[in-house]
Amino acid sequence: EPVPVRILWYSDGNEGEVISELLDRFEAANPDIDVILENVAFQVIQEQLPVQLASGTGPDIARVTNLKAQAEHWLDMRPYLADPAYWEANFGDRLDWMREDGSDAITGFMTQLTMTGGFVNLTLFEQAGVALPGPEATWDEWIEASRQVMESQGLPAAFAIDRSGHRITGPNLSYGANYIGPDGLPAPVDEGTMAFVSRLVEWTGQGLMLPDTWVSAAGTTYRAAADDFANGTIPFYYSGSWQVANLSAKIGDAFDWAAIGSPCGTVGCSGMPGGAGLVAIRYTQHPEAVARVMDYLASEPVVREFSERTLFLPAHAGIVAAGDLAFRSEDPNVPPALERFVQASRETLPAANALPAWQWANTYYGALVTRISQVMAGELSLDQARELIDRDIADQVAAAR
Amino acid sequence: MGSIALRGICKSFGGIEVIHGIDLEIANGELVVFVGPSGCGKSTLLRLIAGLERPSSGLIEIDGRDVTRLGAADRGLAMVFQSYALYPHMTVRQNLSFGLENLRMPKAEIAARVAEAARMLAIGDLLERRPAQLSGGQRQRVAIGRAIVRNPTAFLLDEPLSNLDAELRGTMRAELAALHDRLGATMIYVTHDQIEAMTLADRIVVLRRGRIEQVDTPLNLYNRPANLFVAGFIGSPAMNLFRTEARGGRAVLPGGIDLPVPADGPVVLGIRPQHLHPAGPDEAGIPAELRLVEALGAETVLHGITDSGEPLVAVIDGQPAVTRGQRLRLAFDPADMHLFDAGGRRIG
């Protein structure tokens, strides 16, 4: 009677198929374990999993993005892992993202690292005869250059940023923002944040930023502008590494594009790291089997194949150090883009690296995106928004006490 | 097993009392006809007996058992609704057999009964139709059929033949009479047709505004109506009535006819149209001018007006050669006369 291990998995691209193949191999080699891969919508992870976890049920393993806030539910696998040292060595930097503050548990690993960053439509720039800003160019320079392209090519907008608090956090930090207060609780919105946010609002008012993403939604709704970029509607798009495969598929050879990392602010040129983690769940009946599955999935060849086939950035220190990953894509734009993101992940500010392991990050993001888009829609002034963001966050913190 | 007794039955609809204390005993196997003007409460009374309405006060007994609080399904009666109330989604056959199936009767028996009813009602070739595909008279026959297939202890029939032609009506009447004889079932029958009432009834109940005016056998009712209302209501066309003063045991009618009456003071003299005939040359008669002559073929109805302006109706056999505007003297046999006092009650 094989031991069942259920994995709750969501997919942004083809990773569901890849992992399923990888697991088939595992099952073939380990007939005593029956791995059940449950492909679900991200909504399930976001909304249903917390309910299950709260009542002490759930799958054995799950692919999760909200890692820190739910860390109490993850299983410390150390007693069951074949070689905890391997884990510490290769995934050590990010173990903190997925365990409770002060703990040194090993609860899982990042299946995918993400890094926010910009994409440019090289062809549009070329056609407009506008030179690409240099590597150290600021946000202002990038937007100015994009504006020129927009005007020259008759485009509806110069750039777009995904509608997400996470996405604007890198730029905020680059302008000196700090979210984390001295007590570890959220700090009030500071001048750094306001510096970038007021720019963003201004750009939106000038019609430089595509209104369809930020203005035309309310609350914390996530909106991406990838399709607009893929269609050549905008020359510059700020999103993240996970878009590479998607853009490659949608753009095909319609134009040339490149990843450019993050433009600079006053204190740095930081993007935001992030990603999805595969974690074991405390309520499992079969921790040993779970650990065996996790050991397999975290093993170097598996991580390597997974990354190569999904075009995801690996979180495995050994693989990153080796630098010999051969991403399987026929699109000539893809390898350089991924390279650029790998490079960008070394350019992040320390504040950016602290945020994924910070419990209140999502709260902060949510408040930012909700209120800023109201400012853009003319419903609030920037000052009102600042007050309200602080209040929203304070409410949330108060509720959690 | 089908005696029915009503004791002090009253019924109001939202404050309006339409039945004012009815007392009536109907013997087992009796055929009682309810007659009365439209809206007098005949259907309501039937529905009370059926158990479809609850009386506001009073008791209903069937076979000596108080059933006032019993539901319709438990009283074991069958009813023909004035509005038919056929099941629109069932064929005629299903309409007929529904009640039998409820009694868990064997299929063969049901089929036999339905066939028999269909024959009796001449609806044999309509059995697979639905009510919407029937003519008015056909629907009415199905409604009758639904009641009779059940062979219940008592039937309640609310104007069951009103939409049938004379010939069919005659046949149906005979069939119902035969059924009544055969089953010995109690029947309560509401009708507006005087012929039906006269020929079918063991007793006729004359209702008026929710009260019983008279209960008696048909001929008694015809020959000795208890009051002016019954006198006017039974018999068609209605009885001619003359208001006059009796003095010293005699009363005088228009045309100077002078009659002995066993009363004094204001009286009403009644004479049925059928009892009037053109006066012979040496006979005394009420002179009248003809306003309308209705030839019905076998008889002719003369509508006249007396010299004192009172209407006068006479029915003459055959097709006499009379015309509108003609003056006529109409005579009658004093023995046929009915006499009522000022309060409308019969005298003698």
Partner: protein
């Protein structure tokens, strides 16, 4: 169906016996109990739990882990200097949602009832291919709200199908969903589009139940079409119309998925409705506060009960009018 028919056969004598022993009251119980039991367990109990949630605070999900805060959540929601001015409210988003929902409900219910009534009337006529037409108008009901929102987003977006047509016709393209008015209109229109088949079908069934001979009588009375509608069809449709009104109202208040996908609540908060607010507060993990969401839903429910009561009172009057 067969097992049910067989069950009914078997049940019949049992129930007949039961009826004999307990009378109508017993049968009423038999008819009500199955539904009421399930209803009680799966609707009433969760509702009561939801009420309890609204008196608790914190971010925990399970009721037993949540601290009791009494009326705090309600106080927070209702704390306003001027209820007509969301910005003066403690929970400005909630009040924006309330205002938007009120406007939405008024316009959508009116549009929905009108459109589905007209469609039902037409489908009720003797037209060729009735089944086909019905299917056509019912079709969108089959689509999941997400797909509905998506299709229309594609139609209404910057270079969507509609602008393609507008430009073809020589007009200037409009960015429909970035315009407060058009986005709201789109939410109203699309939700009507998606659900009108539902109400049309209810009305159609109701129309079919009106006896034909009344229409014949009206025709003999040389009644103009509009009067037939107002004086005969509408009153006789009363009970079924009440269903449509109540359901349309309730569903309008509950509008969520398709509007969420279509407009995301924007531009700004122009199309953010109460359920989106409740959803964001209750589920979107960023700003989760289940107690506040429960309180908001209880307030919303209270509002609906009042509206429904008014409607039912009206339809009760109509019902009395036609009692036989």
């Amino acid at each position: 169906m067969l097992p049910f028919v067989l069950a009914a056969r078997v049940l019949e004598p049992v129930l007949a016996l039961w009826q004999r022993r307990t009378g109508h009251a017993g049968m009423i119980a038999v008819f009500l109990i199955p539904n009421m039991t399930i209803f009680g367990i799966f609707v009433i109990v969760p509702l009561v739990l939801n009420l309890l949630y609204s008196f608790t605070g914190g971010a925990e999900i399970l009721l037993e882990q949540r601290p009791w805060v009494g009326m705090q959540q309600y106080e927070r929601l209702l704390d306003c200097q001027n209820h007509l001015q969301p910005m003066t409210c403690r929970e400005d988003q909630f009040w924006r949602a309330v205002h938007n929902t009120a406007r939405f409900v008024l316009s959508q219910v009116a549009l929905m009832v009108t459109v589905s009534m007209i469609t039902a009337l037409i489908l009720n006529r003797r037209i060729a291919g009735r089944g086909l037409w019905r299917a056509v108008f019912f079709f969108p009901v089959l689509l999941s709200p997400v797909v509905v929102g998506l299709i229309w987003r594609w139609i209404l977006q910057r270079e969507g199908l509609l602008n393609l047509i507008v430009v073809r016709l020589g007009g200037d393209p409009v960015i429909w969903l970035n315009d407060r008015f058009w986005a709201f209109a789109a939410a109203v229109g699309v939700s009507t589009w998606a659900h009108m088949g539902f109400y049309t079908l209810i009305l159609l069934a109701g129309l079919q139940a009106i006896p034909r001979d009344l229409y014949e009588a009206a025709e003999m009375d040389a009644t103009p079409p509009s009067r037939v509608f107002w004086r005969i069809t509408l009153p006789l449709l009363g009970p079924n119309l009440a269903v449509v009104l109540v359901l349309a109202l309730i569903r309008a208040v509950q509008i969520f998925d398709e509007a969420y996908v279509l407009t995301g609540g924007g531009p700004g908060t122009a199309t953010m409705f109460m359920t989106q607010y409740i959803y964001e507060v209750g589920f979107a993990s960023f700003l989760r506060n289940p107690g506040l969401a429960a309180a908001a839903s209880i307030l919303m429910g209270g509002l609906l009960v009042v509206l429904t009561l008014i409607q039912l009172a009206l339809s009760r009057r109509a019902e009395r009018m036609r009692q036989r």
